[in-house]
């Protein structure tokens, strides 16, 4: 408890450290402290004992503090120690606005006991550190005003970051990307004092994509309950090898609402599809040009697995709904896209073994006048295949072991030129409007200690998937039986190396079923998947 006595303390204060929560040691008795001691449960017994003579040596002070703390701990173990927060005092913020810090301290106002106060203080501390704009956060518990017994003041001392510029490099798997990306970014913290985080990043994806973007994250824009993110980006993806087109987008994405389970984002982009090779097939030629993409995306994610890198227990469900054409202009791209993922992980109880089951599906359809005759937009379609592991990827139907990027599904012959060196069997993979994949994976520890320590384990897997066209009246020819009969499948065995950046798999895949133009091979595959 703080001593209102103006006498300076000759000894340095002893602090009680519990996860950066400091308590000031008792500096001695004061007449005012007598007013606070009404009963045994008062914090006066915690923060200072009346009528005790002031210790003169450091050792004596230390013993006194220790005695008080032991007494407090004993009381707290036997039952709740009643206290409420009178005031929250914020110190140390010169640039950061008070409301940013105050917004993170709401829990403190509703505590009723010392135990709750300590827990709430810990939570507030973590939240403030999570803002990433402070180098350190120190919370001190002090006694309230003498005229209000049973109260405490919480003093929050922050040290704003001295070096607001930081950089990092990492590997990720974004929901929009078809494969993992390596990303380098620079961050500037707290430019405006609203806890804002600005960043510029350059990302390169394994699927020949490059993205330059800049964004801002506002943890608490006034009046809004959730953080707001805004990101401007320039992205290009090269699909020439697979589908004879290149995609370039200049856009702005806004994170409107984000909570544990729900995420709503708006995206406005100018997208251009070009074919510099001039070898594209008819369907791709028809889609080349400029489009305005104005879409709203809602994601519901419920992940109760114990790990995304090596799930051994739990389940997860993700549903993503995207509506394009949210603009008064009827010429913008209009589509409806729905995808879902379901995963189960069941522990088997020996050698760390677990069985993972999963199913993913997605459908896309245009809307508006004459939508039944229109094709779906090429970049919005589903393409299966790629060097990512289906076990970890939770972004709709994307991957199948053993199939190359965009390596299966409807195809169309590319343009033919009179050139003897030209590939006569060149085809474009067009993707599909409906895609379904399913997987089963049995993972288990390798019986050597070194592997177990590093988390390296083995797995046996099987997967199946298919993709079909529904638009341009093709849905009339669709049948579930034909869809199931024409599915592709593969099995395999492999080694999994989970690292802090990504999950690497070295697999031997055997293709059970594929079709003529599918790009799949039986053999050794290396996959990389960032954390989803």
């Amino acid at each position: 408890m703080s001593n209102p006595d103006p006498k300076p303390d000759p000894e340095p204060q002893k602090t009680f450290n519990t996860n950066d929560i400091d308590e000031e040691g008792d500096e001695g008795e004061d007449e005012n402290e007598n007013d606070l001691k009404d009963d045994e449960d008062q914090d006066d017994d915690v923060f200072g004992e009346p009528n005790r003579p002031k210790p003169k040596t450091r050792e004596a002070q230390y013993r006194l503090d220790k005695l008080k703390m032991d007494s407090l701990l004993q009381r707290m173990q036997s039952g709740p120690v009643s206290v409420r927060v009178h005031d929250v005092i914020i110190k140390g913020n010169t640039k950061t606005k008070d409301y940013i810090i105050e917004a993170e301290t709401e829990e403190l106002k509703s505590v009723g006991s010392m135990q709750e106060l300590l827990k709430a203080s810990q939570l507030v501390n973590l939240r403030l550190q999570a803002l990433e704009v402070f180098d350190s956060v120190k919370i001190t518990l002090d006694s309230g005003p003498p005229e209000l017994p049973g109260t405490a003041n919480v003093i929050i001392e922050v040290v704003e970051t001295a070096s607001p510029l930081s950089g990092q490099i990492g590997a990720y798997t974004k929901a929009e990307a078809r494969s993992s990306t390596v990303e380098g970014s620079l961050k500037y913290k707290n430019l405006l004092g609203h806890g804002d985080l600005w960043d510029g990043s350059l990302a390169y994806g394994y699927d020949h994509s490059a993205e330059l973007s800049t964004g801002v994250y506002l943890p608490r824009l006034k009046g809004l309950v959730t953080p707001v993110t805004a990101r401007a980006y320039l992205m290009s993806q090269d699909w020439l090898k697979f589908s004879s087109y290149k995609e370039r987008s200049l856009g702005l994405s806004l994170g409107l609402f984000s909570s544990t389970y729900h995420d709503v984002a708006y995206n406005l982009a100018w997208r251009t599809l070009t074919d510099p090779s001039q070898m594209s097939s008819r369907s791709v030629r028809r889609q080349l040009g400029h489009n305005l993409l104005s879409s709203l995306k809602y994601t519901f994610k419920f992940d109760r697995r114990n790990s995304s890198m090596r799930p051994t227990r739990g389940y997860a469900f993700v549903s993503t709904t995207q509506v394009g054409g949210i603009a008064p202009d009827s010429r913008s791209l209009r589509f409806l896209r729905q995808e879902f993922d379901l995963r189960f992980a069941v522990p088997l109880g020996f050698y760390g073994a677990a069985l993972n089951f999963g199913i993913s599906g997605g459908v896309v359809f245009p809307w508006g006048n004459g939508f039944l005759n229109k094709p779906s937009s090429l970049p919005e379609r589903f393409f299966l295949g790629g060097n990512i592991s289906p076990v970890c990827a939770l972004g709709g139907p994307t991957a199948l072991w053993g199939f190359k990027t965009r390596g299966m599904g409807p195809t169309e012959p590319k343009r033919q030129v009179n050139d003897e060196n030209a590939d006569p069997s060149g085809v474009d993979f067009l993707g599909g409007d409906l895609a379904v994949t399913a997987l089963a994976d049995l993972s288990f520890d390798i019986p050597f200690r070194w592997f177990r320590e590093k988390g390296i384990h083995a797995h046996v897997f099987a997967c199946a998937g298919n993709v079909a066209k529904l638009t341009e009246n093709e849905y009339r020819n669709f049948s579930v039986q034909k869809f199931v009969e024409s599915q592709r499948s593969s099995v395999g065995v492999g080694l999994v190396v989970p690292t802090s950046l990504f999950r690497m798999e070295l697999n031997y895949c055997y293709i059970l079923k594929k079709f003529d133009h599918d790009r799949a091979k039986t053999g050794v595959w290396l996959t990389f998947t960032g954390a989803s």
Partner: protein, 328 residues
Amino acid sequence: MEQVAEREAEELTLVARKPCFDLPTACPLCLPVFIYLKLAHIPFRLSFNSIFPDSDQIPYVESGVYVAYNNENGGVIDRLKQDGIVDLDSEFESVPDWISTKAMISSWLADAMMYELWVGSDGRSAYKIYYSDLSWPIGKILFLKQVYIIKQRLGITKDNAEQRKDEIYKRAKIAYCALSTRLGEQSFLFDDRPSSLDATFLGHAFVTLHALPNTSVLRSKLLEHDNIVRYAEKLKMELIESGSSSTGAQFHSVPSSSAPRKGPSSWSSKPKSKPKKEKTEEEKTFKRRVKYFLAAQLLSVLLFLSLMGGYDSGDVELYDDDEGLALD
């Protein structure tokens, strides 16, 4: 449904910019190809791409896996000639005036059309032809970009704008006079038989007379030549307004359309020189190997760092109940 789509894909199709101003396509680059195929009585299907106004590939002609783009081999018309699909000029290329007339139409009149569409008039005609099917912000930005490009191409600056304008209109006037003299009272420019120059000039004339505003200087200069106006109106009636009978039922795929018939294997498109192709392949292989090498280096560094740094399993826990006060 699948068979209909396959049949459509095999038919000869001209992909052009959208129709407007009572023209099947109002783009001055696409309309000559349309007219050329009509003059040759080749049945074809007309399809549109209205979201790629800045593409130099459009117009293009396709049939199955065959495509003739406008930015290859001198243009679609020349490509159709080279591939033996249709050639109306075989007897005219030795005529002395042929080359000079062709040069005049493809330079002076083409420049005049570019100027009038993008700079001379208020740009509304160009906007309607090229950008009306694009969302407003995209259309506006592309339009402004194209105006800038056209000014660069025509060498127009703030200082010489008036001078260049006068020069362009003067050359257009000279060209119209020369063409009017050549045409006389004939039905076509050369030997009273249709040629690609008729197609090119008619495309220019149709756009000038119907797509440009009434206040257009170029339009008023063309209207001074009655025989050209009569020639244009008569052929418009025959080729366009007489109905879509030639774009009706009788379609053929490219190899079976007109004599001399040649299959895809014997199309005489310009072969790429072999040594250059081999060098490109070597370069590609080398670049691919370099990429794999660098990726392997990066991967091994990342693996080393992350494996030696340890592996964190499980979720990060926010609360550490073992520290501090144990209350439960």
